[in-house]
């Protein structure tokens, strides 16, 4: 069966990584997955949050937002409401946590990477696109810091990407759901994995429906395929920076 946009069930949408998208950030990437477009900026600061001061290690934190008209209907700007929604908080916590898994914070020194993911156009899968793009922006920032000798040790221990998978009403497992698919899916799952194929985060939810262990496994199989393709694109785009990651891999990021 073919999907509403002509894809096979286990196809990704077209993915592009537009490197060095804006000029000010230490790392800047525009990731497009089909019509979902997210600006991922990484900023490197020479200080850490209070709970880490004096411990000699770094931190990675993330913020996520959507432009009001990234969506079909205009949504109210969170700065106008004066507070951030629960959905936004969940996503920014997820992005930060995922990135910290593949970084040896002890090698950063007392520095913070701020990741800003701003969705300029949404068509499903914004949080997973944000993770995949943020990983690349973070690597660009670290690469720049190494080049400028603000850092002396390479801290990234593995590649990292994320994808959504789901089960539609006909019980088909779909990879990389667009918005139309996402809003009618019975089960929705976000998976974050390393380049080595280890799981970092699994969030499966069936609000209208439940799912079996077999369905969980089928979704994970498809997710793994999609993530491997995303990691391949990251490797290609990061060029020599990829070699640094390969060399560090296996050393183990256990610094949190």
């Amino acid at each position: 069966m073919v999907r509403i946009d002509g894809r096979q069930t286990n196809d990704l949408r077209d993915v592009t990584l537009d490197m060095h998208f804006t000029k000010h950030p230490e790392g800047s990437v525009l990731i497009s997955m089909g019509d979902t477009k997210v600006i991922c900026n990484a900023s490197l600061e020479d200080r850490v949050p209070p709970f880490l001061r004096g411990k000699g290690k770094g931190w990675i934190t993330a913020e996520y937002a959507m432009l009001p008209r990234a969506t079909a209907e205009r949504t109210i700007r969170e700065s106008s409401k004066g507070k951030v929604t629960g959905r936004t908080m969940e996503i920014q916590r997820l992005i930060g946590r995922a990135l910290r898994t593949v970084v040896d914070l002890n090698k950063m020194g007392e520095k913070t990477i701020w990741i800003d993911c701003d969705v300029i156009q949404a068509d499903g899968g914004t949080r997973t696109a944000a993770i995949t793009g943020a990983f690349v922006a973070m690597c660009l920032a670290f690469e720049k810091a190494m080049r400028e000798e603000r850092m002396t040790e390479w801290p990234v221990t593995d590649f990292l990407a994320a994808i959504s998978v789901g089960i539609d009403e006909t019980k088909q497992v779909l990879l990389d759901l667009c918005y139309a698919e996402d809003s009618t899916a019975d089960v929705d799952m976000n998976v974050v994995m390393t380049g080595s194929g280890a799981l970092v985060e699994v969030q499966g939810t069936g609000e209208e429906a439940v799912f079996s262990r077999a369905e969980l496994n089928a979704m994970l199989d498809v997710a793994e395929k999609g993530i491997q393709e995303l990691v391949n694109l990251q490797k290609e785009k990061l060029g020599q920076t990829s070699d640094r990651i390969q060399d560090t891999k296996g050393v183990g990021a256990d610094g949190n």
Copy 2:
């Protein structure tokens, strides 16, 4: 190997459900899982949020909070800070979503169940205890509504319980982590399942470490055992109300 509190790896802590804990709510339960104690209150209101008005169906929403000194160190009261943390938002969204999976909202009429989960003592696993206790409080509220003829159809289609599982530093899979175990675990996973054994929500996270597909499956096996024990306790405590759920099961909750 025996755990720090003497349990076997796949043992739950002592669980109690103190029914009708306070007098005002339509449903009120104090759940204790070891030293974790959560007051779960269910309130039934005769109206629905704006997005559902006029559609003839109900809604279930949840709020979660900890008393400032539920924890070893006093935490600042969220009302004093003037905002709710990301962690709190994640948890309350999870509780509401999970409960809605086993309720046929069309049978509720235009009513809202407000679930309030207030942790008075925390020792790990507060969000899963909250779900397990909230399910019982919600059933008590529906039972009262049926008795008083505020509702005419029984809307709960299955039992629902939740538990945490994790992998410790020696790679052992542990069921129902207490705080000391949780804070040293490599991987932490929360699982929500129905009485029939279907998955509702799977959230596995490895901040300091990653995990394999085999480990994911081992954790799910143990979680399933624990949830079955919790559901058995729910059945026993709910008495005749359990029969209503059994009778409704299989009819399918597809009303969201």
Copy 3:
């Protein structure tokens, strides 16, 4: 004339003090006055607010909240509203001020006692129950600090309890109003007194009615009787800690 719950006009409701109610706080008490139930926790911190730093003395501050469903109708959680109501602020200021009257802050060193009063079930008189219970929780915290040698001098100079009194529509003076009485009373007064019978705070309000000097005195007479009974219960429950207070009494708390 007998009251709606069968009490005589100058009877207290049944009062219990459930000592060491939760495990984390330095002092923890659940006070019940009839159906009014308040968890009173005392936390001891090794620092003081900015305006007291470097002065060698301590501070006592209080926070008060009600669970959303402590009341017959669910009230909105103050953390969700993002602000604390005027009523809450008035009560927490009152609790802190009252407790500071019977503590020699100079003997505390630069420490703060945080009092958290959380009403889990409300049936009138929550603020006075909170004061009576908070005094006991505070004493438990100081006792623990003395035992662990975090403090060297006993700072509590007298017992402290509070009660509500009122005048009903038939001009009867009532002690310890339950909610049904409170909502129909013409005059409502909260009285805080020491174990020695000195007044600490008198707040008499007649929103729908006014009151005479004679009525004020009649209310104070009844309040004094009720407070003496509460202090007797505090003495019994505090056991040996009571002796410390007796020994310190007369020395004078003039440290603010």
Copy 4:
């Protein structure tokens, strides 16, 4: 003994009521008590808060603020902080409650009186000055409404004034404390009374000290004298409006 500003213990400071102080409000008064100066404006609106809609009665509510430099040290503007302090909330609740005692809300129709008390210079006793001035501003607003036939029945049933009393370190009872006296007093009490001498509100507080029943009575005696003088000034300034109040007195304000 003579006081720091030359007064006898039971002397008021110089009191003036500057009628029709600003041009827009329905009632506007600048009250000066010594160096304490408060602009009291009363606005009459043709609607009531939601909880009173459709009940055919009125409401009176108050707001209180200080200019940042009303005090010796500049205080931060509450609008800049984004929230109102507990002290402000206590005061504005007190002002509204006190005024409602002498108004038959049923005679107002569905109207609201907004009282705005803005302290432009503070030297102790701002909340009691606010009540005494607000009463006059409210009467001016009602007078105007009667004249313009927006209202048909006179709703004010008695005069209302307030004063502070205290006990200094030498145990002297002082009337109408200025700031220097207030900040060194052992006991501080605010008393609100009607023109007929009935008590409306008694708030006595001894933060650093306690007080006896005898001292309470001595303070009330002095307060009564002061309030009578304030009421006499109100009568004189209100002229013919005073007659309306006299005529309504005894009819009873029981409309809340």
Copy 5:
């Protein structure tokens, strides 16, 4: 004398208008003026703010924000701070006011245009770029509404563009200041004009310096030249939509 980026004193930077930049908004434009890049989205809603309801006319309102890393140093996200800065408020009020000048609100019917200007890269002149780009996005939205027959009358009465001018430390008048020039300029002025050359808004500010009437006139001369060039670009990009504006011009926008 040549400027730091090689321009003559009265040269604009390179300007581009990237039409239909994102897919969801009714009108979407990315404007670039040198390194300043602003996404301008126009959303058309079928309702008006409360103060306009039932009057049969429309409204235009604007919001403005910068991505955290649009600037050389990362700025805190306004949604995280929970409030919008004064600078942001000034700018969004300016954008809305300027656009309303060239629209006959009576011809819109009860509709609102929401303008969202999001700066993704900042290098001076973001507010004037936002106005110039927002005008085009608004025209695209109106064009679409006409095409889809949501509107029947063309409401835009003239072109509108804005530019910054300034006086540098050597008293030279500069057109279209980049950030480096802006931060060292003595005087900074923003000018908004119509396509017909009428002034809409003039905001001249000399924080470190003052300016004479002659200097004001010199700045206006240069601004006029720059705005004419911007309007020419708008005309070219809007194609046939430009004709609608030409035809409506002279009819007069007097609908506010």
Copy 6:
């Protein structure tokens, strides 16, 4: 043609400066321009905001507010809303910026002047009255600081005043618009000038209409006349302090 209040087109309203209006501030002035009345207080603090610490120079900042009933209709208090409107922010930024233009911040040392402008009665032109009055309050504060030797160098380099001008529906240029004129004017402009006649700020806005260069110049001519009259009044009222300003003039305030 004569205006609604009998003035000629280029007449100011009656202006008074009530010096030393309240007792606590270092400088305090009540400015009245017709029925517009603004309390302008200047507070001198011995510290500067974080961004200026350690630089040896001072800062001037302003806050502006209206009493709720300064206007014909009561407006909601910004402290109750919990946030400051865009209009308020624009005005307070303008006041601070304008005053800093005529002060040599280097001569202040690390001190801050807080300007508080509180409108107690509004009838148009509150922001310009606030600037004219604030300048005088600031001079009083500096004069006091010189007298008390908290400062050693006189920092004010020129006089400063502000006025509104506008163009009415008959194309007449009007000076110092009252509220009734302001709300029907086609164009509204606020002009801030120094005593020497240099422009500090020009803000011309035509929301309903546009304006030509010729009209701009006509408005500036009239504004200049009005400001000169205001400066003459400032000189007279400041007496000997005026001499200090005259002596400093020409030295140049280039300290920001």
